[in-house]
């Protein structure tokens, strides 16, 4: 390898790392990620909602049962279920705390009138009316200024339902306590099976590895674009002619990729350290104590730089070829889409691979070099594939990189000294053939 490559890479690296955008992005990245982890957990503990409610019972025997349910004695079943990992909704978010307000008035009609007035005056949030024939008809009424608090409505629905069921079961001569024991709500735990044993997956750590996949996607395109902009700049301010009088276009291209890739890697490295740091520090930080913060799989952290670089080298060399062929960023827009297409396809295939990570289709897709950086890494975060598949994908992608760089270098060599009307694709192919 030529020393020139190192000299060029060093310059590129230093120039990128020095920009304000890099410094700000590097600092804000971890802040943003910490926010993703901490805010939902904080919300869970701080944002429990309080709703005042009055139960108006025309049937006569249900009120205490419903009120107990609402108070959470035997609980609002919904709120006790663990979070739903697919929605990554931490525990208890939106949990409604009901404050029971007794009904005021001599009869049901008076109680309804009083409750309605209280709601309109803002002294009461909700009142429910249990009609006389509720046990028979299974119909009750929910009154509030707004009826969009689905979480609360569902809790109220469950509480009334539970009371009505208990009453009916009691009427049938069965002990309600026994029924309660028999119909206890089910808690479906999600467990991942792996060689090291089974462990409960809280869902959110999986969610974090998906963030890593997104980072590869966004990072590849973003840093690739930075390479392209750099090439266009060099061309438009005519520096490139002096440089290729000192070294070969190939060295310039390669040095650029190494330098810019290094800057990208540094930024991601700092981000991931921040991520790991926040996870580790959460125990010792007072305001975070008691919150469960997710941990990242170390294998994924180790694989991240490799897959990022694979994606970056593959796409950035194509971006560089485009940059060399055009004169302005506007002209480049026409060429960018075809280059981005494979990586976008990879994102489109995401759900397919996530649903069946070890299906033949997923394996094949993840071995296609232009999709490997996204899909193989995705498979690794969903269900660790066999090592030979990972190794094969890395080898195939590396071969593809060698080929793409060879092609890109030929376009680049001709392109950087071409001014005027940008070429079309057939013309670029001719450069590759004769370059």
């Amino acid at each position: 390898m030529s020393r020139d490559i190192l000299v060029i890479a060093k310059r590129e690296f230093i120039e990128r790392v020095r920009t304000k955008a890099f410094v700000i992005g590097t600092i804000l990245g971890p802040v943003f990620m910490a926010a993703i982890m901490i805010v939902p957990a904080l919300m869970a503990s701080k944002l429990a909602k309080s709703v005042s409610i009055t139960v108006i019972d025309a049937e006569g025997s249900l009120r205490t049962l419903v009120e107990d349910s609402l108070r959470g004695g035997t609980g609002t079943p919904e709120a006790e279920k663990p979070e739903d990992p697919m929605n990554a909704r931490p525990r208890n978010v939106g949990t409604t705390q009901f404050v029971i307000k007794p009904a005021v008035g001599a009869d049901v009609a008076a109680q309804r009138e009083a409750a309605k007035k209280a709601v309109l005056d803002g002294k009461l949030d909700v009142y429910v009316v249990l009609p006389q024939d509720v046990l028979k008809e299974s119909k009750a009424e929910y009154y509030s200024k707004s009826v969009t608090d689905f979480e609360g409505i569902r809790a109220v629905d469950r509480a009334i339902e539970k009371a009505v069921f208990a009453k009916r079961i009691g009427a049938a001569g069965i002990d309600p306590a026994q029924i309660a024991a028999l119909t206890r709500p089910l808690d479906l735990k999600r467990l991942r099976v792996s060689e090291e044993g089974e462990h409960e997956d809280k869902g959110i750590s999986f969610f974090l590895s998906l963030i890593l996949v997104m980072m590869i996607y966004v990072g590849t395109l973003m840093w690739g674009q930075i390479v392209m902009t750099g090439v266009i700049e060099e061309k438009s301010n005519r520096v490139v002619e002096v440089i290729v009088s000192s070294t070969t276009p190939r060295n310039l291209l390669f040095g650029k990729l190494v330098g810019v890739g290094g800057a990208g890697l540094l930024q991601f490295g700092i981000w991931i350290l921040g991520l790991v740091g926040v996870s580790a520090a959460s125990g010792s930080l007072a305001f975070l104590s008691g919150l469960e913060l997710p941990a990242l799989n170390p294998v994924l952290i180790a694989a991240f730089p490799i897959f990022f670089l694979l994606g970056f080298f593959l796409y950035a060399s194509l971006y560089a070829a485009i940059g060399s062929a055009v004169n302005t960023i506007q002209e480049a827009q026409n060429f960018i889409f075809p280059v981005m297409l494979p990586i976008i396809m990879a994102m489109v295939c995401w759900p397919v691979v996530m649903r069946a990570p070890d299906s033949t289709l997923s394996v094949v897709l993840s071995l296609i070099p232009f999709m490997t950086p996204i899909l193989m890494f995705l498979r690794m975060s969903v269900l660790m594939p066999p090592v030979w598949q990972i190794a094969l994908s890395v080898v195939l992608t590396s071969l593809a990189i060698a080929l793409v760089i060879w092609i890109a270098a030929r376009i680049y060599r001709v392109g950087i000294l071409m001014y005027g009307k940008p070429p079309n694709f057939p013309e670029m192919l001719r450069w590759v053939r004769h370059g």
Binding site: S2, D4, V7, I8, R11, E15, E233, E234, N237, R238, V239, E241, V242, I243, V244, S245, S246, T247, L417
Partner: protein, 301 residues
């Protein structure tokens, strides 16, 4: 004697256009060599082939008698016609970077750049970014960049373009000094007047072909003293009608009269002094400019 640069029968064609047709060129070591010709004549293409930026379709390029390679290219300094610096880079780091590509250690290039910056009026500006300097200043930075690795051969494409009169003088003095220090200077330009006083040898090219080649003094001598320079007061518009005057380059109070074969300068002076107050009269060799115009127009392509 080895030549600093030799182009042997090189040809370069782009898709629709032949930029250089079969050019032979020899630049003696230590000479100041002018590569002259109008815009689009093929100068820049020839220089790019000399720098191995583009390869010739046919023919051969020799630097110091050898085929070019990286270490040979490190002995050349190249300033292209289209100037430019990394706009956001600090001058000092920019110069260090460019010199490092030519194999000079950073400490060494830092040491070397200071006297040059000082000399070209850029003292104290080495920590400024390129885009904080004026265009003329950037051009001087580029000149320093061209010679910081102490090259034996300097190839300067249109070195004076874009410089103000003071800058032109500074540049010319620096070039003369480099020439006296034994460097070979290859200067390409379409402004022949600014280069002809400086060059020992010139090659004139037009449409990718050599039109003239030789020592400046020989070329001029071969054309003889066929030009009459007149400075005068009055209306000189009648001059071109005088017998024996083939062409007039009329500047208002000053005119260059190209004489036809057998014309008598004294007769023309007499005719002119009848109607004008003559303040200067001289019979001189033609300028390269005139020779070039003549060569290009007399042989229709």
């Amino acid at each position: 004697m080895t030549h600093a640069l030799q182009l042997k029968n090189v040809r370069k064609a782009y898709q629709e256009k032949v930029a250089v047709k079969s050019l032979d060129l020899e630049v003696p070591k230590g000479s100041v060599f002018g590569l002259l010709g109008p815009n689009g004549a093929g100068k820049t293409t020839s220089i790019r082939m000399a720098m191995d930026i583009i390869g010739p379709d046919t023919g051969e390029v020799l630097i110091l008698g050898q085929k070019t390679d990286k270490s040979l290219r490190n002995r050349i300094g190249y300033m292209p016609e289209e100037r430019g610096l990394y706009q956001k880079m600090i001058i000092e780091e920019l110069l260090v970077f460019m010199a490092e590509l030519k194999g000079v250690k950073p400490a060494e290039s830092k040491r070397r750049m200071m006297p040059w910056l000082e000399r070209l009026g850029l003292g104290g500006l080495h920590r400024k970014k390129a885009n904080e300097l004026s265009k003329g200043m950037q051009q001087k930075v580029q000149f320093i960049q061209t010679l910081l690795h102490d090259p034996e051969i300097l190839i300067l494409d249109e070195p004076m373009s874009g410089l103000d009169p003071v800058g032109t003088n500074v540049m010319r003095d620096a070039m003369i000094e480099l020439s006296r220090a034994g460097k070979t200077l290859i200067v390409s330009s379409h402004q022949m007047a600014t280069v002809e006083q400086m060059c020992d040898r010139v090659v004139l090219i037009n449409n990718g072909e050599k039109v003239l080649d030789g020592r400046v003094s020989d070329i001029k001598a071969s054309y003889g003293k066929n030009t009459l320079v007149l400075a005068f007061e009055g209306d000189g518009s009648f001059l071109k009608g005088l017998p024996g005057v083939a062409a007039v380059n009329d500047h208002g109070r000053y005119a260059e009269l190209k004489l036809g074969p057998g014309a008598d300068p004294q007769a023309i002076l007499k005719a002119a002094s009848d109607r004008l107050r003559i303040t200067k009269f001289e019979v001189v060799e033609p300028s390269l400019h005139d020779i070039f115009i003549e060569r290009v127009t007399e042989v229709p392509a």
